[in-house]
Symmetry: C2
Subunit: 299 residues, 2 copies
Amino acid sequence: MIVVGVDGGGTKTKATCIECRGGVGTLVSSYETEGSNFHNVGIKTATKRIKEAIDRCTEGRTPDLVVMGLAGLDSRYDFNVLRENLSSVGKEVIMDNDSFFILYGETRGKNGVIAISGTGSVVLGIKDGEKVRAEGAGWFLSDTGSAYWVGRETLRYLTRCLQGIESSSMLSETVMRSLKLKDLDDLIYWTYHRKHRVEMVASISRLVDKASSRGDEIAQGILKRASREFGRSVLHVVRKTNVSEVYVLGGMFKSKAYMEEFKNLMGENNVRVLPVDKDPSMGSVLYGLDKVNCKLNGY
Amino acid sequence: MIVVGVDGGGTKTKATCIECRGGVGTLVSSYETEGSNFHNVGIKTATKRIKEAIDRCTEGRTPDLVVMGLAGLDSRYDFNVLRENLSSVGKEVIMDNDSFFILYGETRGKNGVIAISGTGSVVLGIKDGEKVRAEGAGWFLSDTGSAYWVGRETLRYLTRCLQGIESSSMLSETVMRSLKLKDLDDLIYWTYHRKHRVEMVASISRLVDKASSRGDEIAQGILKRASREFGRSVLHVVRKTNVSEVYVLGGMFKSKAYMEEFKNLMGENNVRVLPVDKDPSMGSVLYGLDKVNCKLNGY
């Protein structure tokens, strides 16, 4: 039988096809294309890319089981839209938020917690098969400590600098130069007149980390505050899940100041921090293989 | 000669026409129509409404001087767009942000500070003819302590309630009932799936004030924090302007908890709070009349 795992993220969509015979799986092939978060690219494009990835990796055969971890699947509404468009891609189709399968790839269904902080942020815990969540409700309602959150705080600080309320710093100068801004009017134009762009705001976090690693205290302060506030959400899920370790993933953890502060807070609460080091796109595949009792060499 | 003052706000546009003879002004008429913040209604509609209000109140005559206080005039970009569309409404046309003329209506050009907290928030000080500003750069970059800010904080709190991180309260229950939400999925749908609506978010502040006045501590806490954070921006402008009083205006000051906290903070810093009690739409008219040395009975 054929099992396909799909990792549908914001920037890429990867399908991995496994053929199972006698309880042993063999990799047929994997296929990667552009992102399929339907909130960003629309449901039509997302569906097209996911179907294409599955079709290419199975070489046109209909899979017996497709397991999809999808970045935009955050609510019942999302689930209904995605199911309607994707329920025909295999004989059986399972879908969930990508965080669920990334955690599964590490724990194989045991109790555990994963904390992801990239453009947005989400914490997912599994306790006896039940889900416990924090954050993950998007840029407006949550995503505390995410790259978007860091970018927003930085642009608000920059606004106060340009109004003379706060002193300028290496950080404010770096952002001005990088966004090619002369004054507050330019910043207002950048912010509103080409509509609100979550990814553009999030990308400013890289400038913050750069200034932080060069010793800018404002930048370090923003990153530490982001990490600590996200950490509080993580601790909540850790306590509810009753585990003593947390898997972490996402661009924000590549920031030294952010990771250090996070490790400190977790350490103070006797929680170990474990970076996800396996291929996160394998989680959905492994979920599917475990479901049909099929073993894959090396996993 | 004919002098027209325009007050172009988010919800209404009012033009007031004065005829000046021998240094004495007489009210010809005033005309009120819908809002003309071009960020909300587009430049075409805003222009149409402003022109219509002027034309109606002058009974078709071309004004010698038009002074316009416009809510959406926040940057050089805004100024260019508005000037391009409105420079022909009178022989001479002066425009500025509405806060400038509301303050002028109270101080007649002397040093002073006005703090406005409605849907957004802005602080404007005048010192020896020079402007000092804080906030006023829109929902994303600033507007600390505004109705939008209060609404956003409340919806973020509600998200944490629905995730079980914070306890529910009269406030969370009121918001759920008022927005007809059953769960977090509904809140996510309300927030994102009909795009981001600043006015809808701001309108939640009324529910917060209601819960606050009924004794809800979470609601009181949000309002006090909003007031205190806005107050810090106000104190900055007060110090730079070197005055000892601040005029306040806007829906947020109708909230008892908000106003009390604001008065406390100002009191601690020896700053008197003076509510704007004159018709705020008269500021632009008075600016125009003072410019041409024309007196209006009662002002």
